[in-house]
Amino acid sequence: MTTDSTGGSLPDAHAPAGRDFRQVLAGLTQLEHVRGGLLVAPDGLVIAATLPPDIAVEPVSALAATLGRELELRGPRLRRGTFLMAHFLADDGAVFLGGTPIGFIVLLTDTQVNRDAIRHALREAIGSIRQAWPR
């Protein structure tokens, strides 16, 4: 059973791995130096979130979805190809953003994070969601 964000429970015994978004996100947020993350739909709806308590989810989800869409649209428009993922480094941390058929994965990390390890894990997570959502 999966508990949804409104408190209801829905059976998902036969769902492919990429459809269990909370499991996908949990796998990523367990990685070393990852502070938290969320999975947000293109309209900004939070599907799953595990952010530190001092970070408000709604503004982050709204901006992440908008940025994700901008990157998604920018690719084909400027002949950069389909958007896969982005890494934004700041002085005191980093944000990774991955595109999937149902929205965007956002990971918040420390600066010490192994960039390539996160890229690899994110790529796998994106792949599993794409497999589950082939449209």
């Binding site: 982050v60 389909t82 944000v95 890229r119």
Partner: protein
């Protein structure tokens, strides 16, 4: 499908068909859990019974947006606004789509209308802050520098496109320069501003660099509060090599801009 079985058994037991409220409540549960196809099916059934149901139309807009069916999403939000002209969620939906189309003024207008009705709307507040940072988004000023010596920047030969712009999207140089260069500058500037807002909301300080990986190209960005440098390579570029190029060209850009000011 288990859901159909669930509905069937319920209706058979109670003898009553599900109400639109039940349809949309169940659809909301599915959408919030990321079960978009199930949610879409229920919304469609609910709207067939009650085509002007605001909850159903909002759900419809949201689910169409998930599947990137933006025309249908817009239509749903417009129908909500026809019924309730200041509905904050519908206005937010319209604002997002306006921004995607580069219509910053329209986006700002939708967001202000949403906030007039619901002043504590966190998503609209965050988006308005990000958008307001780039009020000149739609109309970049003409390039100011005529004596910019591009050869001094040492742009790597393997780069597909290099571009330096002010944060308001005013182009300083581009190599090569083509019909889409202005749009690249506008979109690059927008990415930087959205990223800056996102990092701030995540409790992080300003953007140092960004790596944007696409299926065909990898783009490296470097920015401060005033200018942004973008260098695009083929998809197989080694990340550390790309970053080294970025740092070198960035330093050279600053030196060249400083020498221009001095002369």
């Amino acid at each position: 499908m288990w859901l159909k079985r669930l509905w069937t058994s319920k209706t058979e037991t109670s003898g009553r068909p599900p109400t639109t409220v039940q349809f949309f409540r169940q659809a909301t549960l599915h959408r919030n859990a990321g079960r978009f196809e199930e949610a879409a099916a229920l919304v469609e059934q609910g709207l067939r019974l009650d085509p002007d149901n605001v909850v159903g139309l909002l759900l419809s807009g949201s689910i169409h947006a998930v599947f990137r069916e933006m025309d249908k999403a817009r239509e749903a939000f417009q129908r909500v606004l026809a019924l309730d002209p200041t509905h904050p969620r519908a206005l937010l939906g319209m604002a997002r789509m306006a921004l995607e189309e580069g219509e910053t003024e329209a986006c700002t207008d939708f967001l202000r209308r949403a906030l007039a009705r619901y002043p504590d709307f966190p998503e609209a507040t965050a988006l308005l802050e990000a958008v307001s940072q780039g009020a000149t988004d739609a109309a970049p000023r003409p390039a100011p520098a005529t004596g910019f010596r591009v050869e001094r920047l040492r742009v790597p030969q393997e780069s597909r496109e290099a571009l330096l712009a002010r944060i308001d999207a005013t182009l300083i140089f581009a190599q090569p320069r083509g019909t889409s260069t202005e749009e690249v500058a506008t979109r690059t500037s927008r990415v930087c501003r959205l990223t800056g807002s996102l990092l701030t909301r995540c409790g992080l300080k300003g953007l140092k660099h960004a790596i944007l990986e696409g299926a065909a190209e990898t783009t490296f960005l470097r920015a401060d509060g005033e200018i942004v440098l973008s260098i695009a390579f083929g998809r197989d570029v080694e990340i550390n090599a790309g970053l080294a190029h970025l740092e070198r060209v960035w330093t050279n850009c600053h030196q060249e801009l400083s020498s221009q000011v001095a002369s």
